[in-house]
Symmetry: C3
Subunit: 131 residues, 3 copies
């Protein structure tokens, strides 16, 4: 398992980590298997989505914030219940096939670390399993 | 890794792929392990849900479309930001236990390919890992 | 694969299962790998989120219920379409790294079984793969 550091700069933002994850896969030497991504936080997540037009992830941030507003009638005293909900809606884990030693991402897919309660110093765990 | 072709016919629809995935698991010869499903697209997803009453997935399409309307104040010029958001909300990967050579789906569970920006020719990657 | 029994007591609630899953990981003897969690139901899910302040998951239940109300203009005659939608939004599977024989949960993360149409007797499948 490799742990990548992800530094976020805003309250809510998607940060692309495709290149760093690709590097871990390459370094693992694994040819056929799965790359497992895991976020060890409760107000952040990981997702795959378009990395060509940067407007796509800006829209995602805005859509999520409309679905679960930062201010609401929440119980949790820290005031970041929206961030916890967004983390569970997007999810803290995903996985990607590895074949011929390469991440089998679709043409338009990039890997995004999703910050919902930043800015913070975050971590992303990357495991490559297979042979 | 096997790649299944999925042809979608509507803008938004859930297409059941349980039989095709079951066939891949059977063909793999793996008795104990995990079946990993991966969608290499940014406006489609994969989920498990009821496959008995077809109204369930029709309701899911309608609920998602109410949550993230097709028309909205979005930046992304292609006009399918809702589809990108739905893909990240449902997710592009899931996995199912395999035991005794069989997918360990629950009684009511089927595997659904989720189209959010069709119709298109899509792909679903299936990996069976284990022994 | 181990199957844990989860008894739910309310219509909608999050029940923490971290201790039971930790026990399965310990019993597996696996030192390095992945713990895969799977819910074989269509109106329940599994997620990771804060297990320190119990208000967080109460907020999550309320946020999800505001997003997908129990009563709505749904087709499915059983009247639990909201529960099916919540199951697909949160997801029926997740996975957690295992290293040095221990689940690599973040400081604030707990594992939650999410009931959306209880009370019921439920199951959670736990697989630990690796070496």
């Amino acid at each position: 398992m490799r742990t990548l550091a992800v530094v976020t700069h805003k309250g809510q933002e998607f940060i692309e980590v495709t290149a760093a994850v690709t590097e871990v896969v390459r370094g693992s030497g694994i040819q056929e298997g799965i790359c497992h991504l895991f976020v060890p936080h409760t107000t952040a997540a990981v997702t795959l989505n378009e990395n060509c037009d940067p407007d796509v992830v800006l829209d995602l941030v805005a859509i999520l914030d409309r679905l679960v507003p930062s201010r609401g009638d929440y119980r949790h005293a820290e005031g970041n219940s929206d961030a916890h909900a967004k983390a569970s809606l997007i999810g803290t884990a995903t996985s990607i096939p590895v074949s011929l030693g390469t991440l089998q991402l679709g043409t338009w897919q990039g890997i995004w670390f999703c910050e919902f309660d930043g800015p913070r110093n975050r971590r992303l765990c990357v495991q490559v399993i297979g042979r």
